[in-house]
Symmetry: C2
């Protein structure tokens, strides 16, 4: 498993089908886990696809249409029954908080673990998470109810010092950090080592963006610019352009246009209307605009 992995638990839309479950996906970054949306059955999909969730401490809910959060009640209940004690942070539109309280009051459940509710409305300018090695930010999508996209960005990695160079030398921590940050190094005898000779360029930072549900919306291009992987909804095909506009969803080609404008590396399509039995048309229409497009598959781990 690489440093950043995506597991799609559901890529269906409002009405589930045999192969399209309600929206939910697990993003795993070096042992940190993030659940993005939690449609009905998310916990069963986690079991079916053997997706780990022990390091899940953050849940992000894009908007309050049922196919994006009806699985939250069951998932949290199960964590409770498993004796979980670690807190869970839920980032979601504010209106979800009183509903969660109502659900657990009705189902006679007093959660064993702290549930920290963080209204997405409070994060218009600040990241949801700003950690040493990554950030997660939200941005506004264009849908029939307030809806947010999410973007994960790894922070630039430090340079890796050549092992042979370190071996046998007593280099102070202070200098180690300087070399990792790109500085040259002068040893006790006054010998200069150019940074490029004693350290390696790290790989490029990893990044991922989730955009569902949304109409075609160019405002998001800046937010998701250059991500390695973009998951964008593609509820309809080009023949349903008017319906997409009316229902504030996107066609596959519109998703591809966003991917192209944002100069992302790879595009995954999802949130398919239940009317589609095959996805060749959607894929072709998107690839005509942005060739590096793929149909998302539930249960398949994507290394980003």
């Amino acid at each position: 498993m690489g440093d950043l992995e995506l597991n799609i638990l559901g890529n269906g839309s409002a009405v589930p089908t045999k192969f399209g479950n309600p929206s939910s996906q697990m993003l795993t970054y070096r042992g940190n886990q993030f659940l993005i949306d939690c449609g009905e059955g998310a916990q069963m999909q986690i079991i079916r696809y053997k997706v780990k969730y022990r390091r899940l401490n953050n849940i992000f809910i894009s908007h309050l249409h049922g196919d994006h959060f009806f699985g939250l009640f069951g998932l949290l209940s199960t964590f409770h029954l498993f004796g979980r004690e670690n807190a869970i942070d839920i980032f979601a539109p504010a209106k979800l908080k009183p509903l969660l309280d109502h659900v657990f009051r009705t189902s006679d459940t007093v959660l064993r673990f702290p549930l920290n509710f963080l209204p997405l409305e409070d994060f218009s300018d600040t990241p949801l998470l700003d950690k040493e090695s990554f950030t997660i930010r939200s941005f506004k999508l264009k849908h029939s109810v307030p809806t947010y996209g999410f973007v994960f960005r790894e922070k630039p990695l430090q340079r890796k010092i050549n092992k042979e160079f370190i071996k046998g030398r007593a280099i102070k921590t202070k200098h180690i950090l300087e070399i990792k940050a790109g500085s040259d190094y002068v040893d006790d005898k006054g010998i200069l080592y150019k940074n490029g000779e004693i350290s390696q360029k790290p790989r490029n930072p990893l990044s991922y963006a989730y955009c569902s549900d949304t109409a075609y919306h160019e405002d998001i291009v800046e937010d998701i610019h250059g991500v390695k992987l973009l998951y964008h909804e593609a509820t309809f095909d080009e023949s349903m352009l008017e319906m997409a506009d009316d229902k504030k969803h996107s066609t596959a080609a519109q998703a591809a246009r966003i991917a192209k404008l944002a100069n992302v590396e790879k595009l995954l399509l999802g949130h398919f209307s239940a009317r589609f039995k095959e996805f060749d048309t959607l894929l072709q229409q998107a690839r005509d605009v942005f060739p590096n497009t793929f149909i998302s598959v539930e249960g398949k781990p994507y290394q980003i």
Copy 2:
């Protein structure tokens, strides 16, 4: 398909497993459909097992633990999205009503069809449904929150008049009904025909009872007496008797004891704890008490 069929959509308990979904089952009687409990994922199980639901107009929720009703929000939303217009009657503990309203308000859904909510608390002495050919009644189970069992009973069928006897005779409707009810018949010429010679005994009435969740509770024996099929929870095995008592659940042997006392024809066990990977022990312990016991299987149609 016979006149009465049961499809078990979920026979797991609070924590779902790969093979044990949250409680839900569909009972179909001559085109009438009844959904009993609606745990998370019920609508996906309906799709998976190709269970018809067009004639579903009545939903019964035994109690308000999440594994018995968290699938209701998604199921009703799907009916709405499919353009359903026929009313649905929901029989459930009263506290579910304001929660349903809250869920649909939050998920921005105004159901297209009338949703009639009938609090189970209002039916302590009267049947939930009393139709020409059947009744459905509720009765109290013994659990940690108010919980109801349900029993379906077909009304006694009328006798079938021999076709050869009717053929060529102009028998008045009034007399037809009398013969069906068991009377002899005297024709215009004064000839007496004994009922047993001109009509056949109908099959015995069909019946089914659902008991989940409940501790061992002999008070229900009268309510479910003599049913052809009893589904009774068996969360635990005999080694967990104390836990069963503490959590107000039953062991398989306790379920069998109820089946025996109630003189039912056949017992189906369900609502298994997630700790069981196989059910041989549960089955054996129950069969030692009541031999005609079976482990329920999700997706298998049971002809009653």
